[in-house]
């Protein structure tokens, strides 16, 4: 679909903006927050005609299938959980990393491109009633693993 390129460009510019604007080059909080607000609003539109989720696992499945397909044009490759609020989502070809050459050299740049998505997932879950912490781990480009930890209080 043609609009994808527009979004890819916009995402690149957002990354650029957030990092140039903050004093610390490694400060990804703003970027994550932009993702959070986007995810929070987006999920409201997406789940309008979806029946209520039974439990947490079903919510996670929705994120991994429908949500991911709509935004990243593919499903996640693997979803694992320890049934105690830890979920690991694996994507072997993460969209924002596929245009970066695979190699150890670019690895340190990777966090910039996954921070937005961490926020996006956190925001989406938050509006579905799940308070969580989302972190990402990139070992080899373009594979990426997201750790979702549900905060229970």
């Amino acid at each position: 679909m043609s609009e994808e390129i527009v979004f890819d460009c916009l995402h690149a510019e957002i990354v650029n903006y957030c990092l140039n604007n903050s004093k610390d080059q490694h400060d990804l909080a703003t970027l994550e927050y932009i993702g959070f607000t986007t995810g929070y609003r987006l999920i409201e539109r997406l789940t309008r005609d979806v029946t209520r989720f039974k439990d947490e696992l079903e919510t996670m499945k929705f994120i991994c299938t429908d949500f991911w397909t709509l935004i990243y044009k593919k499903q996640v490759d693997n979803l694992r959980t320890n049934n105690h609020g830890m979920y690991v989502v694996q994507d072997k070809a993460f969209r924002f990393l596929t245009r970066i050459s695979p190699g150890a050299k670019q690895l340190e740049q990777a966090p910039k491109f996954v921070a937005f998505t961490c926020g996006l997932v956190r925001g989406a879950l938050s509006n579905l009633g799940i308070n969580s912490t989302v972190t990402a781990e990139v070992q080899t480009i373009p594979a990426c693993r997201f750790h979702i930890e549900v905060n229970r209080s």
Binding site: M1, T37, R41, T65, L70
Partner: protein
Amino acid sequence: MSRQASRLDAKKVNSEFLTLTYGALVTQMLRDFENVEDVNKQLERIGYNMGMRLIEDFLARTSSPRCLEMRETADRIQQAFRIYLNVQPTISNWSPASDEFSLLFDSNPLTEFVELPQDLTNLRYSAILSGCIRGALEMVQLEVQCWFVQDQLKGDNVTELRVKLVRRLEEAIPAGED
């Protein structure tokens, strides 16, 4: 994982996702800068950067030849809006010299779900569009000015974007190669 994504309209969601992301960015900028003019400038600059990249994609996708006059350029811009934002602006209000025209939008996908609060009347919310046009045209050696005449966010019936040709940029000869 047997759920089908087809229940949701992918194309619509795509554009809504873009709209919301853009909205989040603008909100963040308003928080970062005190001055609304600075936000306008930043948005314009981001648009400029995006335009410079999008023109490559546009030329590769449409393989359109070089435009010899502004009327052709206007048609191409219209086509680009159709491809990238799925809207069809109307071209009108040509100046007698054919170097200035308006793009009229009935609806602007970027401003869906958006309402401007009273104190932000100076914000050019869609400044990214004018930046985009400027950046893209500069890559094909056209220097233009681009600004908003009317804006639906400010109560007008349509959104009107005015484009004016400043000059054609000449291919500069690298030093010592003439």
